[in-house]
Amino acid sequence: MFERFTQSARGAVMAAREEADRRGDGWIGTEHVVLALAEDDAVSEAVLLDAGVTAEVLRAAMVPGAPGARGDLDADALRTIGIDLQDVRRAVERTFGEGALDELPVPPARRRSRHIPFTTGAKKALELAVRQAATLSGGSIGSEHLLLGVLDEGGAGAHLLTSVGVDPQQLRATTVDKARRSA
């Protein structure tokens, strides 16, 4: 499926995977794709920037949706089963030093070849990106098509964008425009 992806679109898919890995999420969803697109690709990044979206803004919007997925342990959830994270933290730090419990067991960069599957929504978004590329730009799939795929799929990634104040219709229109012009 990826053979018609441009370098930048491939880069975005790889970056989405890394984002998922870094967050400790067990899936690659359209939200990770959006984050990757905002982060490191020229075409989609420019479109997103115009819409006021940066990777930082997206990250800030994502945190509450994924309790404990990042570096922070989920103190509230642990409390519900009678574990006081503060107590645990104090005990562990007595032996291992301050901040010991904040250390991730296996730093993401060293974790090779962990398989993280795409969500159904992300697969759908990739398919839609392929379709958009065929319609708008003669078939080769760029990051702008990925963005369109995510928007058209209408799942987690699209919701994330809406949650940071993006008008999906508007963003879609500017992205289509960009895709046509760069075709």
Binding site: P67, L73, D74, L78, T80, I81, G82, V106
Partner: protein
């Protein structure tokens, strides 16, 4: 303010969402504790076999899980 036992009975039973979230949190805590202790054991010269026995898993399992991260963090 609910007492600890209220929280326990409410959250340990009914709602899968809360229950599963607690499981995830506990697993993350467990993983970190395990890593810290395995690392320390290695620093104190324990063999992978000793650590595996203490953890009740196979030597392969413990080495596969911790081998690369602990070796790379400076100590053999």
């Amino acid at each position: 303010m609910a007492s600890a036992s209220d929280l326990l009975t409410s959250a340990a039973s009914e709602n899968p969402d809360d229950g599963l979230r607690a499981v995830v949190a506990l697993r993350q805590l467990l993983e970190r504790l395990e890593h810290l202790h395995v690392q320390r054991a290695r620093e104190q010269g324990w063999s992978w076999q000793d650590i595996a026995r203490a953890l009740g898993v196979s030597r392969q399992a413990v080495h596969q899980k911790h081998g690369s991260s602990i070796r790379l963090s400076g100590r053999r």
